[in-house]
Symmetry: C2
Subunit: 208 residues, 2 copies
């Protein structure tokens, strides 16, 4: 059991690609298993259910992303004169690290996140909160530091608006990228979208 790709991995790889492209509900197990070249029943054999497969796909990314983000937040913590935008820039490295899972890992992860938030409402939120709640708390604390003029309620809403922008940018991302490319005659990648996004969410969050 060394370099050969197991059935489990084949399923995970095919599933994450299709989930990221079409969403969870729009992707059937028959599509996934066909793409992976494995039997339909093997999903339920190895993962138990489709829901569990979705969770496994997301968990694989979170397990890389979250620790890297935590490290970045610790560095930000020590930083003097921390600015909101600089804080958001800290997301770029953890995101880039996801290439170790997949060449298009960063794109994939953000799109998965987008679908997860818009499709399975409370489920992922609860899981993330439970597994990585401390990291998110840390982020909130730092944002309060860079934005002492916002009260609890403003911060609550704006954080969710930020999340909404990110999620939307990714879910509608591919379509928008294609429109943008046609309109501006240049190659555009997910990284460019992030670079456009950061000043937007920074400005939105900070605004008095």
């Amino acid at each position: 059991m060394a370099a050969r790709i197991t059935t489990q991995q084949k399923i995970l790889n095919a599933a994450e690609a299709l989930f990221a492209r079409d969403g969870f509900e729009q992707t059937s197990l028959r599509q996934i298993t066909h793409e992976a070249g494995v039997n339909l029943a093997s999903v339920n054999y190895h993962f138990g259910s489709k829901k569990a497969l979705i969770q496994a796909v997301i968990a694989r990314y979170l397990s890389v992303f979250m620790p890297a983000l935590e490290e970045q937040l610790n560095e930000a913590e020590a930083q003097k004169d921390l600015k909101t935008q600089a804080l958001f820039e800290r997301f770029k490295l953890p995101l880039a690290k996801l290439t170790q899972i997949n060449k298009r890992g960063p794109d994939t992860f953000l799109r998965l996140l987008g679908f997860a938030y818009s499709e399975i409402q409370g489920h992922l939120r609860k899981y993330t909160q439970q597994e990585y709640g401390n990291v998110l708390q840390h982020l909130l604390q730092l944002l309060k530091r860079t934005n002492p003029h916002l009260d609890e309620q403003q911060m609550f809403w704006r954080l969710h608006f930020v999340l909404g922008s990110v999620v939307f940018a990714q879910v509608s991302g591919q379509a928008l990228i294609e429109i943008a490319q046609a309109e501006f005659n240049q190659q555009i990648g997910a990284q460019d979208v992030i670079d456009q996004l950061i000043p937007f969410v920074s400005g939105g969050l900070e605004n008095s």
Copy 2:
């Protein structure tokens, strides 16, 4: 054919409520027809297909909202010293007008819009562009006026981020409102969310 509610209207009313609550794909024709107290087959008889029903539901709102928005934009056009935030505030009145369709019309419309954008990817965008493209062009032109420091590409992306925030706020809105109410011990409505949203999108769009 005077004051009595026709089958078509019964279907539209039931459909828009369920669509707004659960999304288009999550709502079955059987749910809709049961709620409306009409026969299952009457949807296909009166509208042709589920897709056409969705379009009819959205079109009913757009036909009220868009002309009202156009009027607001014309007023803004004449305004001296137009600010981005003031421009976004112009959305409130057209939105409020939707109560003439339904008491909870504004909420319903925004949630429908949210689901429309996240579920049926290109379809609605094309329809809106075709039917009300001139209004949206007008909005874009005014935004360029209030933000001359942004180039075409920045404006393109930020406009879509704004849209994303709005859409997300509404789709995740009810869940978030409940969390917020529990956390801050006060009654919160869709209008409050809009009030929180406007400074966010204004700040995000303007940021240099």
